[in-house]
């Protein structure tokens, strides 16, 4: 049995890179939903596996989608 000292050995990959998406579109909000928690928070990069560039775009896209009521704001 292999042990990784509590670390998940699974390699994270940026799904936007995989899908060859140049820039994250706020109008594709169904897809954005995959990157927010149940409470509406943006998943951190270490969990989403996104690259820094796409994560940055994602954060902006989520903000826009929230403004247009396509996604909820964080619920406390």
């Amino acid at each position: 049995m292999r042990r990784d000292r509590g670390r998940k050995p699974k390699k994270k990959i940026c799904s936007y890179c995989v899908d060859k998406i140049e820039s994250v579109d706020y109008k594709q909000y169904e897809k954005l939903k995959r990157f927010v928690t149940e409470r509406g928070k943006v998943l951190p990069r270490r969990i989403s596996g996104n690259c820094a560039r796409h994560q940055r775009q994602l954060t902006r896209a989520i903000k826009k989608a929230r403004i247009m009521a396509l996604l909820p704001f964080t619920s406390e």
């Binding site: 140049e22 579109d25 826009k64 247009m68």
Partner: protein, 189 residues
């Protein structure tokens, strides 16, 4: 000169007939400052992720225009004076996305036309069948008139899918997020 995308939500209280009026007024505001509307996409009625002015749903539209930045205050002014629009956002887009939206609209229009033609064809065929039945003299086997098959409506809203900005785009050109945007940003904290 720049390319812009406006997303707006029309109040559910506005009848569908009133939508065109809103869009026309918006067009007027855009052209007043020399802007050119290239595409209007109907994003249809959607459930709002949270209530806006007590509304739980609204009619979404996307309007693409090209023009100088001076168009924006004109558009903002229009949105401020109308009650029909409950939320809007103006963002600048790359030419590629701008053109993709126009293509999408053209495709949607073509699909709608094809659908209408198909429906017409189906009705003609039905009419033919009906004639045949009437002509047949046999009194027996009176066929139940077939239920006119529902001609399927075209698929749900066409989401502007994957409208991508060009490669090597540094950060997406500055985003103009106005009024509603700022207001919402505060809540975001």
């Amino acid at each position: 000169m720049g390319y812009y995308e406006i997303m707006l939500i029309i109040s559910p209280e506005v009848e569908t007939d009133g939508h065109q009026e809103v869009l026309n007024d918006l067009k007027t505001a855009i052209t007043k400052e020399g802007g050119v509307v290239s595409t209007v996409l109907d994003w249809r009625k959607r459930r709002l992720a949270y209530e806006i002015s007590k509304h739980k749903e609204g009619y979404y539209y996307l309007v693409y225009f090209s023009g100088h930045g001076t168009v924006i205050p004109e558009v903002e002014h229009y949105f401020r004076v109308t009650d029909a629009v409950i939320r809007y956002m103006i963002v600048s887009v790359e030419e590629k996305e701008f053109n993709a939206a126009a293509e999408k609209a053209a495709e949607a229009a073509a699909a709608a036309a094809a659908q209408a033609e198909k429906q017409e064809q189906a009705e003609l065929e039905k009419a033919d069948e009906a004639t045949v039945i009437e002509e047949s003299e046999e009194p027996e086997e009176v066929e139940e008139p077939e239920e006119p098959e529902e001609v399927e409506e075209p698929e749900e809203p066409k989401e502007p899918e994957e409208v991508e900005e060009p490669v090597a785009a540094e950060e997406p050109a500055e985003t103009v997020e106005v009024d509603a945007a700022q207001e919402a940003e505060k809540k975001d904290e």
